[in-house]
C-alpha cells in the first residue's frame, strides 16, 4: 500500500515540477519501415539563419530523430534559387529554412517569394500562442493565421507609367482564394478549432477582396460546425490589440496576412517563439513563423543571441508532418519546459542567454 502511494506521490511530484506539462501516454501504431530515416532539405540562409538551424541540428542529433539533413548554401543576394536546391526539395518534399534576407530597394526579387511560387506553397501558417511562463501583456492568446501565399499584393507586377508615377497590381483569383479558404477550414476541422475569421478590406477594395470573401463564404457553408465571421483589417488589428482572445483561426489574403501574423506574434510573445511554415499540395517548407526583419541583424549574430525556440517548435511541426508524433511531442515538451522555467532565455524574451545555452537546456530537458 505504501509502495503504491510512494510511486503515486513520485508521479505527482514529477508532474508538478513540469508545471502542468504532461507527457502523453498514447500509443501510435506505425507501419513497418516507418522508422527509416527521412531526408530533409536544410537551408541555413543568412544572418541568424545558420545559428538557429544549427540549433535544430544539434537537438535532432540528441534525440536520434530519424531525420538527416541535406544542407544547401543559399543567400538572399542570389537572383535565383540554385536548381540543385529546388531538385532536392522536390525529391524530399520537406524543407527546413532559416531566414533569407531580402535586399530592400530593388533589383532582386525576394527568394522567399520565388520559392513559394515555384513550389506552389499556397498556404502560410503561423501559430501564435501564449507560452506558459512567458509574461506578456495579453493572456489567452491562441491564434492561427493562415495566409494566402502566392498572389494578392505580392504578385510583383509593378511598372512605372511615367516618371514619378508607379503602379502595382494586386491580383486576386477565385482559384487561389478558394483553395486557401478550403485549407483554412480543413485545418480548423482537423485541429478541433471552433471559429474561422476572414480578414479583408472589401468596403474599399470591393471587387478584389469581395471575391476573396465570396470564396470564403462558399467554403464556410460546407463546414456547418465551424463558426465563420468576417472582419475588416483595420478593425481586426485594433481588436487584436484590445481583445485577442476572440480570434481562433484567421484566413487572410497575402498582405493583410503578413501584418496580422506579425501583430499576433508580437502580442503573444514575439517572433522569436512562434512556429510556422508554408505548405502546398505536395511540398512543405518549415521556418520561423513570423519573421520581422531580424534576419539581417548582425549584432544578434555576432553575440549569438538569436532565439532558436521558433525554429525548434517549427521543426516539431515538421516531425509531425513526417509522421513522427512522439519525437515531436518530446521536443515540444522540452522546449516548453525550458521557457516555463525561465532560467535560459535569449534577449528578446528578456533574458541574457546565448543561443547555445538555450539549446543545451533543451537537450538536457529531453526525456
Amino acid at each position: 500500500m505504501s509502495r503504491r502511494s510512494l510511486t503515486l506521490l513520485k508521479n505527482l511530484a514529477r508532474n508538478a515540477n513540469g508545471s502542468g506539462i504532461q507527457t502523453r501516454s498514447v500509443t501510435y501504431m506505425p507501419r513497418p519501415g516507418d522508422g527509416a530515416p527521412r531526408a530533409v532539405t536544410l537551408i541555413p540562409g543568412d544572418g541568424i539563419g545558420p545559428l538557429v538551424t544549427n540549433a535544430v541540428e544539434q537537438v535532432m542529433e540528441a534525440m536520434h530523430a530519424p531525420i538527416f539533413f541535406e544542407k544547401y548554401d543559399v543567400h538572399g543576394e542570389m537572383s535565383r534559387m540554385p536548381p540543385e536546391v529546388m531538385e532536392s526539395i522536390r525529391k524530399n518534399k520537406v524543407c527546413l529554412k532559416g531566414g533569407l534576407k531580402t535586399p530592400v530597394g530593388g533589383g532582386v526579387s525576394s527568394l522567399n517569394v520565388q520559392l513559394r511560387k515555384e513550389l506552389d506553397l499556397f498556404a502560410s501558417l503561423v501559430n501564435c500562442f501564449n507560452l506558459p511562463g512567458l509574461p506578456t501583456r495579453h493572456e489567452n492568446v491562441d491564434i492561427v493565421v493562415i495566409r494566402e501565399n502566392t498572389e494578392g499584393e505580392y504578385a510583383g507586377l509593378e511598372h512605372e507609367v511615367v516618371p514619378g508615377v508607379v503602379e502595382s497590381l494586386k491580383v486576386i483569383t477565385k482559384f487561389c482564394s478558394e483553395r486557401i479558404a478550403k485549407y483554412a477550414f480543413e485545418y480548423a476541422y482537423l485541429n478541433n478549432r471552433k471559429k474561422v475569421t476572414a480578414v479583408h478590406k472589401a468596403n474599399i477594395m470591393k471587387l478584389a477582396d469581395g471575391l476573396f470573401l465570396e470564396s470564403c463564404r462558399e467554403v464556410a457553408k460546407k463546414y456547418p460546425s465551424i463558426t465563420y465571421n468576417e472582419i475588416i483589417v483595420d478593425n481586426c488589428c485594433m481588436q487584436l490589440v484590445a481583445k485577442p482572445e476572440q480570434f481562433d483561426v484567421m484566413v487572410t489574403p497575402n498582405l493583410y496576412g503578413n501584418l496580422v501574423a506579425n501583430t499576433a506574434a508580437g502580442i503573444a510573445g514575439g517572433t522569436g517563439v512562434m512556429p510556422g511554415g508554408n505548405v502546398g499540395a505536395d511540398h512543405a517548407v518549415f521556418e520561423q513563423g513570423a519573421s520581422a526583419g531580424n534576419v539581417g541583424k548582425d549584432k544578434i549574430v555576432l553575440e549569438n543571441k538569436a532565439n532558436p525556440v521558433a525554429l525548434l517548435l517549427s521543426s516539431a511541426m515538421m516531425l509531425r508532418h513526417l509522421q513522427f508524433p512522439s519525437f515531436a511531442d518530446r521536443l515540444e515538451t522540452a522546449v516548453k519546459k525550458v521557457i516555463a522555467e525561465g532560467k535560459c532565455r535569449t534577449k528578446d524574451l528578456g533574458g541574457t542567454s546565448t543561443t547555445q545555452e538555450v539549446v543545451d537546456a533543451v537537450i538536457a530537458k529531453l526525456d
Partner: protein, 423 residues
Amino acid sequence: MDLTGRFHNLFISGLVSGESINVNLFQVQRSKKSPLCLFPLCVLLRLEAITMAAFLARRLIGNRSSQILGTSSSSSGAFISVARAFSSSTTPIKATLFPGDGIGPEIAESVKQVFTAADVAIDWDEHFVGTEVDPRTNSFLTWESLQSVLKHKVGLKGPMATPIGKGHRSLNLTLRKELNLYANVRPCYSLPGYKTRYDDVDLITIRENTEGEYSGLEHQVVKGVVESIKIITRKASMRVAEYAFLYAKTHGRKKVSAIHKANIMQKTDGLFLQCCDEVARKYPDIEYEKVVIDNCCMMLVKNPALFDVLVMPNLYGDIISDLCAGLVGGLGLTPSCNIGEDGIALAEAVHGSAPDIAGKNLANPTALLLSGVMMLRHLKLNKQAEQIHSAIINTIAEGKYRTADLGGTSTTTDFTKAICDHL
C-alpha cells in the same frame, strides 16, 4: 535694459499665449516716465517684434509656415501670422461644423459648450448632411457645405454614416477629393488615468490620404480574376513627406519613421521611400529611419515607445493608425485631423455614428473634443487648446465622470459639465 527686458518678457508671454498684446503695450506705455522715450522704444519694440515674432511664428505655425513665411522669415509674413493670433480675441474665427449623424449632434453640442466655456472665439457655421443627392457634388453633401469649408479653411466633422445605395459617392470620399485632403494626422497618446495594457504610447501617425491602394481602380480581367491597381506618385509622396517632417519640426518631435514594404513592392514603396529620403536630407536634425511594415506592427505591439512620428502610404496608414488607436483605448478617444492643400484643416472624430445610442445622452464626446483641440492648435490658439486639453485629461484621470464606453456611468452632459468645471 531693464525696460526692454520687461517688454521682451511681456511680448513673449503675449505671443505664446496668443492674447492680444495691444492691451499690454498700452498699459506699458501708460506707465512710462517720459513721452520722449516712447519713440525709440516703439522702434525697439518693432524690431523685437520682427525678430521674436519671426522666430516664434516659425515654431508655432504648423504647415502654413512655408506659405506664410517662405523659406526665410520675412517681417510682413511674421506680422500677418502674429496678427492672426491676435485676432482671436477681437474678431471671431469662422469655422465649419458638420455635426454628422447618430451621436454626432450630441457630441457637437458638447464641443460647442466646452469651447464657449473656454472663451474660444469661434463662429460655427453648421452644415448638415442633406437627405438627397446634390447633383453638383454627386453625394449627400451639399455644394454650400463644401464651399463653406473652402472659404473658412478650418472645419470640425462629426461621424457621418454613408447611406447604403448606389449612384453617389461616399461622404468621406467626397470631402477628401473635393478638398484635396492629402494627409491624415492622428496623434495617439496614452491618457493618464485611463489604464490600458500600454501606458507609454506617444506617437503620431501621418497617413497619405489620396492614392495608394485606395485609388478605387479595380476591374475583372476574366471571370474569377480581379485586378486592383495601387498607384504611388512622386507628387503625393513628396507632399505627405514634407508635411510629416514639418510637423515633426514644429511640434518638437525627434524622430520620423517611414513605413514601407519596399523589399517586396520595390518600385511603388521604393518611390515612396525615395521621396522620404529626399525630404529627410533637408532636416538633418530630425532622426530618420525606415521600418518594414511587418517589423513595425510587431514593434508597436511589443514596445510602442520606440516610435515617434510615423509616415506611411494609404493602406498601411489605415491599418497602423487603427492599431495605434487600439493601443490607447479605441476609436472613441482618438482625435484626427485631415490636412489639405492651401492650409485647409478638417478635424474629425473617426469613430462611427453609433445609431444604437443616438439621442440617449450616452455618447463619449472625447474624440470630437480632442479633434477640436487639434483644430485650435492648427489655428495657433495654443493657450485655449492647452486649457481644454488639460481639462479633458484631468476629467478622465479623476475617474469620477466617465461615460459608459470608458467604464463609467456618466451621461454626455455630465461629462461635458465636468470638463467645463475643470477649465
